[in-house]
Amino acid sequence: MGMKKKLSAKANFFLTVIFVIFVIFLLHLANVYMNAYQLKILNLMAIYGIMAVSLNLINGITGIFSLGHAGFILVGAYTAALLTLTPEQKEISFIIEPIIPFLKNLHTNFFFATLAGGVLAAFAAFLVGWPVLRLAGDYLAIASLGFAEVIRILALNLRSVTNGALGLKGIPEYTNTWWAWGWLFVTVLFIGSLVNSSYGRALKAIREDRIAAEEMGINVFKHQLLSFVIGGFFAGISGSLYAHWLTTIDPRITTLGPMLTFYVLIMIVLGGLGSITGSILGAMIFAILFEWFRRFEEPFTFFGIEVPGIKGMRILIISVIFILVMIFWQRGLMGRTELTWNNLYRWIFARRGGEKS
């Protein structure tokens, strides 16, 4: 029974570096060989990944049932877009009410715009979290949804800031593979490192039993707020990337509203609530499926029968899948565990000799 149960830290590090290089290589190949459409989906996977990992930190790891994620994504999207659009573009777009001069003249590059989106979203998360985190599970969910809706309604009506229902068009398509996957890498690194520390344990303890956690010396409110704000920050980052991927944003329910939160929720449930790698997998699967389901909205053949496409079919199928997953497969792909080298190693090698893994 001298079988090693765990890989050394060195081996872990080595494998991870190899993996990252491998991924970079794959992304490079993708950029060379994929067509524009496929590339866009690939980038969307990364954007969804950031949304999923950030929501998972709040919902899955800390156990806060927040439904307000779309609100933070929206803040990030608008902040970044308003910063990357040139003053001339803004002047032309704001036809109902002119944009306030301060905002018109703000202009910066994509990186700082994205960063600003994250910071402002984090600030919004702080403002929202402060009252909302005092509430219990169900109420917290509704309150967070309410706040996200307030943010959306504000975006809809503060025409001199957001251009109201018209939204922002002509946003430069800065989001490419490297920005999207680069930011995903940063997100995973940051949140992964956080979870893999005493703070991560504290957050999980809060998820398990708030009162016991408090009694063991953890300032539950402060840690919940911390989780909320970090999740909000990366939601804002994803918002910026999303805006520069869509090239137009508006405060509709489907674009940056509760529907988006629902999509992200599906991703993390599918991947496994509480698992970072699960969230990424869930995001990627969702991106592919959702895109693939588009075919049902055009006429298609089903075993030789011509079926007329119906608009909105995608969401219907996704909802059904979601409900089925909730009923039959609650733990999702990864459950609460991560896809680590150790786990892979154990899974591959520990099957021998009936050893307990």
Partner: protein, 277 residues
């Protein structure tokens, strides 16, 4: 003997119900004291008030010279009071080791509690600042984590749980879970340990082991123990001083011999459905 915990006319009212009625007592440093009484007498409520879960309707709680009445539970833990629960509240989905590691987190966090300590001329318990950033960026954190793990494993060894350290808490048998809860509380480095019915649900052998265990940790870790129990064997066996509660009030106090022959105590218990082990 040094006064460690002073309960100064503590009353806890829930609407019309008076759960704790003018509770006055002092716990002395190093003692092993017990709190007994029929079901519903208000014992756990006293613990909940001490640890800050409830804010008392009136009265004060003074711990080690600091008025902890307005403080929150996490601050009180940081100041040196730890507890276990009547119904085990372990972090079930986490391993034994992780459960104990959690208790060390407060040393990284809680600047507010440290400020209180400093204000009263005591040493802060925190080990420096900016631990959040250090933890995420892994700057000077790896050593800290190693140190925490070593301390945790040392503690687990002392309490005899080192062999199961990577098992999920939910996988442990009942007796070991109770032990783990006590270990987890110990890992916060308390001065005062509150045990809420530690022997509940245990068979006689487990109870014997527990009694030895509690005495040992009091001596070895140099802490003060205040426990609630229904099991008279435990109470009379290890407690040096016993407080008896009924209907929220203290009705008697003294050594085991004094309590056993106290007519008021006997009366309180005879009128109830109460098990005498």
């Amino acid at each position: 003997m040094k006064e460690l915990l002073i309960l100064d006319h503590v009353t806890m009212r829930f609407g019309g119900l008076v759960a704790v009625d003018d509770f006055v007592n002092t716990i002395y440093e190093g003692e092993l004291a017990g709190l007994i009484g029929p079901n519903g007498a208000g014992k756990t409520t006293v613990f909940n008030v001490i640890t800050g879960i409830y804010y008392p309707t009136s009265g004060r709680i003074i711990f080690d010279g600091i008025d902890i009445t307005p403080l929150k539970p996490h601050q009180i833990t940081h100041l040196g009071i730890a507890r276990t629960f009547q119904n085990i509240r372990l972090f079930q989905d986490m391993t034994v080791l992780e459960n104990v590691l959690i208790s060390q987190h407060h040393v990284l966090s809680n600047p507010d509690a440290d400020r209180i300590l400093k204000k009263h001329g005591k040493d802060p318990k925190r080990d420096g600042n900016f631990w959040f950033w250090r933890a995420v960026l892994k700057l000077g954190y790896v050593d800290k984590e190693k140190q925490m793990k070593e301390e945790a494993m040392e503690l687990l060894e002392k309490v005899g749980l080192i062999d199961v350290m990577n098992e999920k808490a939910s996988a442990l048998p009942y007796g070991e879970q109770r032990k783990l809860e006590i270990a987890r509380a110990l890992a916060t480095h308390p001065k005062l340990l509150l045990l809420d019915e530690p022997a509940a649900g245990m068979n006689p052998k487990e109870t014997e082991d527990l009694m030895e265990f509690i005495k040992r940790i009091r001596d070895e870790f140099k802490i003060t123990v205040f426990l609630i129990e229904h099991d008279m064997k435990v109470v009379m066996g290890i407690c040096e001083r016993i407080i008896v509660m009924d209907y929220g009030k203290i009705i008697a106090e003294g050594t085991p011999e004094e309590i056993q022959s106290n007519p008021k105590v006997i009366e309180a218990y005879l009128g109830r459905e109460w098990e005498y082990v």
